[in-house]
Amino acid sequence: MRRHERLIVAAVVLGAVLLWEGLVRGGRLDASLAPAPSAIVSALLRLAGRPEVLTSLWVTGWEVLAAFLIAAPAGLFIGFVLAEVPALGALFRPLLNFLFGVPKSIFLPVFILVFGVSIPQKIAFGVFTTLFVVIMGGIAAVESVPRELITVSRAYGATRLQIIREIYLPAMAPILLESARLGMIFNITAVLLCEIYGARDGIGYRIAAWGENLQMPQLYAALVIVAAAAVAVNEALRAAEARLGFWRHRG
């Protein structure tokens, strides 16, 4: 975005917040459904000082990270194998395409039966949801590697290891990061869904409780925290993607 575009966006956001505040103060907007931005900010500051809220954020963050650290390499490996071994690809890819389209949330009760309401259950469900995205990304990444570059490298005496390091990895990196980013969005959604559905701790658990008790300022404050964290992760991965994909044609 160019500078003046940023300014316009900032002005629109600021205007919307001020309008919201004014509508609540003027009694035109029900504060029990949409509390004023000033009330949300003060709730945010109060929550930030409460240790149990920080613990919940830590629990959720840990679940998300653990699920990602399991799902990303596993999904990549499976995607790589399915793309490179034609027989396995032919066997499993139709099944995978089918499962990819099924909403994963319908399997949540099964995970509760298997793991109980626990942290491993959140991680397992996060892995299950993220895995498919990363496998698809892994397949796409392998298929994006230009075969001619492999021939060129072979003609110049590259070993198998050198072909992986010099051709596969740089060619796949941008697409891998892109699928990691998509996977992360699915992962955060899955873990929060688990926590809202049933949990003993975690920010999703707090959101569900505040929602049930109609504690709207706290609920909105939690939404702000989660949104900020998700945007930060997303933007960091996107910046890495742009850095590693500088060579890709734009426009």
Partner: protein, 257 residues
């Protein structure tokens, strides 16, 4: 004439795992002396490219053998044989200079040393000043110059060129042809140049090998007795026409057979 640098003896090549598939080349014998510029022409699918991939060591012949500088080729020999493909096939994430240096990187040569070598090759191919450009910032002709520089960076005895100008427009193709002849005159490599274009073959080469339709056999071996350096004016001389016509007869006869 000097000794043969590249020799193909009784070479046949069949595709398919058990060699039962398509026969691409049948019983090809070819001796290329050191420093010669040889063009290989023939109808589409006659195995011209297969022939090059055998010399590059990318494939093994089903029968017979290929030798380079007295050594039998069983795998790529990048220090003896450089290769340029139809598409430039540059690594899109590497700058021009790093693309040229890529074969040296594969050999584990330190960065400063390989960049110095690559810079010399870019100068030779008329690309000094473009060292740090990425492939997508270069024109088609410039990319192919980078590919030629990469083919020459290890100072191989042989340069294989697989229709290197086929995807360029005609003007660029002619300019690059002259550039190639200048580079060849400076470096005195042995060049095996596969092309669809009879004009290009006769204009560039000392000798034109004509292959038959699949399975490819050598049907003619024509010496191009035009003086060097070649000039565009020679393309309209009688001698040029006679050589081109002789090759054309083979291609036409093959199409009617």
């Amino acid at each position: 004439m000097t000794r043969a640098l590249v020799s193909l003896r009784g070479v046949s090549h069949r595709f398919g795992t058990d060699g039962a598939g398509l026969v691409a080349l049948a019983d090809v014998d070819l001796e290329v002396p050191d420093g010669q510029f040889v063009a290989v022409v023939g109808p589409s699918g006659c195995g011209k490219s297969t022939l090059l991939s055998l010399v590059a060591g990318l494939r093994q012949p089903s029968d017979g053998g290929v030798w380079c500088d007295g050594e039998r080729i069983t795998a790529p020999m990048p220090r003896k044989v450089g290769m340029v493909f139809q598409e430039a096939n540059l690594l899109p994430w590497l700058s021009a200079i790093d693309n040229v240096a890529f074969p040296l990187k594969l050999r584990g040569i330190p960065k400063a040393e390989r960049r110095a070598g690559a810079a010399r090759m870019l100068t030779l191919t008329g690309l000094s000043g473009f060292e740090d450009k990425l492939p997508h910032q270069l024109s088609g002709g410039m990319k192919q110059r980078v590919a030629i520089a990469r083919g020459l960076v290890q100072d191989p005895a042989v340069l294989l060129m697989d229709e290197p100008f086929a995807s360029l427009d005609e003007q660029t193709r002619m300019l690059l042809g002259d550039e190639l002849l200048r580079i060849w005159a400076e470096t005195r490599k042995t060049v095996i140049f596969v092309t669809h274009s009879l004009n290009e073959a006769v204009y560039l080469a000392d000798r034109v090998i004509v292959l038959s339709p699949r399975p490819g056999r050598v049907v003619d071996d024509v010496t191009v007795a035009l003086p060097r350096p070649r000039s565009f004016a020679m393309t309209s001389t009688e001698r040029f026409g006679v050589v081109k016509d002789r090759i054309w007869q083979h291609i036409r006869n093959a199409a009617h057979a």
